[in-house]
């Protein structure tokens, strides 16, 4: 198949950036989207042009490195799919594909399609952990956890930290990302001890880093490649509210 690519090119953070158009012929429908980008880059290099920079690593949908805004959707048109898992068979012959980086104040562009997502790490550092030092744990089976709770915690824990939820949101809110971590830890008895402090600190950090507010449009849930449910946002709102009402102060 033949395709036309409209790709955002930006030399570095200071550059203004612009779209460039490339015609790419003989694309195989079996290629993954990133293999198509490799193919484009090999052509660009052979023409002496600078290849398009994009983040990627595992190429099996689990590391969360890749994240490209494709035809106006994070990770492209297929639901439940990261960019690296997306196949070219989902596009039409002669289609024009618009390729952009994540757009959010909290994710500044570094180059072309690469953005800086360290703000997500900052949120985890604010409280996305259980404060147990190595060596102090008791036998793992000392605490029985109802299977339902444990399964629910797992459903929240599948987040790969790609940032698609932020990119999908018109307010660039990171609520789904934060809520998933708050829920995973809060649903487990091990994480309950710090639950109210955790939710306050993480929400506070999210606001501080320039992520927007949630206005319940739920594009985040729709575009999450791992199907993380927006019910966790509701849970976080409840947890946040009750932690404030109970006046448990952040130490």
């Amino acid at each position: 198949m033949d395709i036309k690519l409209k790709i955002w090119r930006q030399k570095d953070a200071a550059d203004k950036g612009k779209f460039e158009t490339y015609d790419l012929k003989e694309v195989s429908p079996e290629m993954s989207f990133l293999e198509m980008m490799d193919y484009l880059n090999s052509k660009l290099i052979s023409e002496g042009k600078e290849p398009v920079a994009f983040d990627h690593d595992c190429r099996e949908g689990i590391c969360g490195s890749c994240g490209i805004y494709i035809n106006g959707r994070p990770h492209g048109p297929e639901r439940g799919t990261t960019t690296c898992e997306l196949r070219m068979r989902f596009f039409k012959n002669n289609e024009t594909i618009v390729v952009e980086p994540w757009r959010s104040r909290a994710f500044p562009v570094i180059k072309d399609l690469i953005v800086d997502r360290t703000s997500l790490d900052e949120i985890i550092k604010a409280g996305g952990f259980i404060s147990v030092d190595t060596g102090s744990a008791k036998d793992a089976n000392c605490i029985p956890i109802p299977k339902n709770n444990s399964d629910k915690a797992f459903d929240a824990a599948v987040c790969v930290g790609c940032g698609a939820c932020v990119a999908a949101c018109k307010n660039s809110s990171a609520m789904l990302f934060v809520a998933a971590k708050v829920a995973q830890m809060g649903l487990l008895p091990q994480g309950k001890v710090e639950a109210s402090i955790r939710v306050q600190k993480m929400v506070e950090k999210m606001d501080e880093l320039g992520f927007g507010f949630c206005s319940n449009i739920l594009a985040c849930e729709y575009d999450c490649p791992k199907h993380v449910s927006s019910e966790f946002i509701a849970k976080m709102n409840r947890d946040f509210f009750s932690s404030k009402v109970c006046k448990q102060k952040v130490i």
Binding site: S32, Y39, S46, S65, D116, N141, P144, L188
Partner: protein, 638 residues
């Protein structure tokens, strides 16, 4: 002259580690604050080590090439993590896990190290559970386990097919906690390009900032490499595209010995090569073999749809050849058996280079829901990539380059032959012999990081409490930085016409053909020649666009590929030197009439540790493997 001393403590096997731990020296908390440690890599080993060392009060600096420590390739491990808990009352014990690993590794691993890995495995599960890793549970609320390739007990803890992700995120959260406390400083998007040795001790590293292109000097009292394996040498492998061996290789060039480089595990269940543009082979967890049955048609070159091939026409070759273990034979055995069927012309699919993994019986017996619960995400992943629904027809799978048992040589303290330079996780060689059993890599990486390195590095650092902060303006730093800068200039100045990836792909093909699942002396010599030629061509005609300043992904790739040529050659040299078949190293010349591997314990019960003496003439040092506690036997899964 290097003399290898494994420093295995004396005494009965079960007491070695506990007795040794109590004899190790300590560093008092006030002094810990003055000591700096560099950890390179943030996978299960690196993140676990960095967080534990931070908790102890050391000043830790951590480096990774990804944008976040959460992305290291441990994240992709699927099936599970072993521990000798014996929760299932099925006769498991630390000793049994140890024996399984020694046997699975085909008697080429160090007994004491393996026993210790098994011993700390239980603490790993306890710790991960305590820090919120959501392992699978039963209805009673306690942890569930499953059985995994090559063993007869159920000791593998799991979190659906995402165990690696959940464990890594556990270690990452512990790491983040220490970063927020200020004990650990994180340096993402850095490639380690060299190690700095001052007065015979590792004192720092040289990195390239992948965003600014800046070459940076970082110093510390000790350096820990947790940089993973070198499986991407094959180009197509189950590893992440960024996974590379350059950090470990720079240590080798500075005097650390590299052990058993030819021991590379070929994983039996990966989605097969589908087209020429493919950049990666996606793994389908080995746990699938618990419920899936592997077969090919009994008819040669059978192009029928698998659902049209009747039960009588199917050859369940693993069950036929290995009735005792059936579909659960270890990885090396399963891989070779698949290759044997495909080479004989019975392979499935258009290429004939795949076999079927069939769930129809399991689905009929347990129901689709049960299978979905266990493997849902894997089935989904398979369908996304291939467009085939594995609930309705069998998966097609084929072996792919996966895990490297070989790595930097380390003693019992996990220290390389350069004092102060430690190697943990997949980056070292010590625990898996010639073949790794499923679900023991997460176990070893986390064990090394959480429960071993904190003790042994403290013993080393107890001698360093009087050493002030290491200044980075020392000559040795300048020399190492110059080496790095010259190499970058050299590669940028070639200015040829071919991409680094195109060379990588060709290199991978050579190594897969001549130093892959099955090797022979003639092929290995041929492989060596071909790699030499390709390397020469690379240095004449590689094209690296852009400059050394700023973000340049082509430069990153080219520097890594340049090292892969040298590693590829060392793999061939090591495979050529080992005139026997053991574990994943299968030399055609050394097999039984039934086609099984034939070890030569008299001549080759040693670790081959290579010393750098120029890229084509490494010097071999042997560490003899003494088996005090298990008896060497031919591996038999029949």
């Amino acid at each position: 002259m290097i003399k290898l001393d494994s420093k295995i403590p004396p005494g009965p096997l079960a007491n070695k580690w506990s007795d040794y731990k109590s004899s190790l020296r300590l560093v008092n908390p006030a002094n810990k604050k003055k000591l700096e440690i560099i950890v390179v890599g943030t996978g299960l080993a690196g993140a676990s080590a960095a967080s534990s060392l931070g908790e102890l009060g050391y000043n830790v600096k951590v480096f990774c090439f990804q944008d976040s420590p959460r992305r290291a390739h441990s994240v992709a491990a699927q099936g599970g993590i072993n521990a000798a808990k014996n929760y299932k009352n099925d006769g498991d014990s630390i000793y049994r896990l140890f024996v399984d690993m020694v046997k699975g590794g085909d008697y080429r691993a160090r007994e004491a190290n393996v026993y210790r890995a098994a011993e700390v495995s239980n603490s790993v599960i306890d710790h991960y559970t305590a820090i919120g890793v959501p392992f699978a549970r039963d209805y009673g609320g306690l942890l569930d386990t499953r059985s995994f390739g090559g063993v007869q007990v159920s000791r593998t803890f799991y979190a659906k097919g995402q165990t690696g992700q959940q464990c890594l995120l556990g270690s990452y959260s512990a790491l983040c906690r220490q970063i927020s406390k200020g004990t650990v400083k994180m340096f993402p998007r850095r490639d380690m390009l060299d190690v700095v040795v001052v007065d015979g001790k590792a004192r720092g590293i040289i990195t390239r900032n992948l965003i600014t292109g800046e070459i940076e000097r970082h110093s510390a009292h000790a350096v820990v490499l947790a940089t993973g394996g070198y499986g991407t040498v094959f180009y197509l492998s189950t590893l992440a595209l960024g996974s590379n061996a350059s950090a470990a290789w720079s240590a080798y060039k500075q005097g650390a010995l590299f052990a058993n480089p030819s021991f590379i595990q070929i994983h039996p269940t990966s989605i097969p090569v589908l087209n020429d543009y493919q950049s990666k082979l996606t793994l389908m967890s080995e746990s699938l073999r618990n419920d899936g049955r592997v077969w090919v048609s009994k008819v040669e070159k059978d192009k029928r749809h698998p659902n049209d091939i009747s039960e009588e026409e199917r050859d369940y070759y693993l069950e036929r050849r290995y009735p005792a273990f059936g579909n659960l034979v270890p990885r090396d055995v399963a891989s070779r058996a698949a290759k044997e069927r495909c080479d004989a012309g019975f392979g499935a699919g258009d290429t004939g280079l795949s076999v079927y993994l069939d769930f129809s019986q399991a689905i009929a017996k347990q129901g689709q829901k049960a299978i979905e619960n266990k493997y849902g995400n894997l089935f989904e992943m398979y369908e996304k990539i291939t467009g085939v629904n594995p609930y309705k027809e069998p998966m097609r799978i084929y072996p792919a380059g996966h895990y490297t048992m070989g790595g930097l040589w380390v003693d019992y303290n996990l220290m390389t032959t350069i004092p102060g330079l430690f190697a943990i996780g997949e980056a070292n060689f010590s625990d898996h012999g010639a073949n790794r059993l499923g679900a023991s890599s997460l176990m070893q990486c986390a064990g090394d990081g959480f429960f071993i390195i904190p003790y042994t590095i403290t013993d080393y650092l107890s001698d360093e409490i009087k050493t002030p902060k290491i200044p980075t303006d020392k000559d040795e730093f300048a020399v190492a930085e110059k080496r790095v800068r010259e190499r970058i200039e050299k590669i940028l100045n070639v200015n040829g016409a071919k991409t680094a990836s195109s060379f990588h792909k060709r290199l991978g093909k050579i190594l897969w053909d001549y130093c892959g699942m099955i090797r022979n002396a003639e092929g290995l010599k041929k492989g060596l020649e071909l790699v030499d030629e390709l390397e020469a061509e690379f240095w004449k005609s590689v094209k690296v666009t852009g400059t050394k300043d700023g973000l340049n992904q082509e430069l990153e790739k080219a520097l890594r590929v340049a090292d892969f040529f040298e590693i590829g050659k060392l793999m061939c040299i090591d495979a050529l030197n080992r005139d026997e078949s053991c574990g994943a190293h299968f030399r055609e010349e050394y097999q039984t009439p039934q086609g099984e591997a034939m070890r030569n314990d008299e001549k080759f019960a040693f670790v081959a540790a290579w010393e750098y003496k120029g890229s084509n003439s490494p010097e071999l040092h042997k560490e003899e493997l003494k088996y005090e506690f298990v008896q060497l036997k031919a591996r038999d899964y029949k």
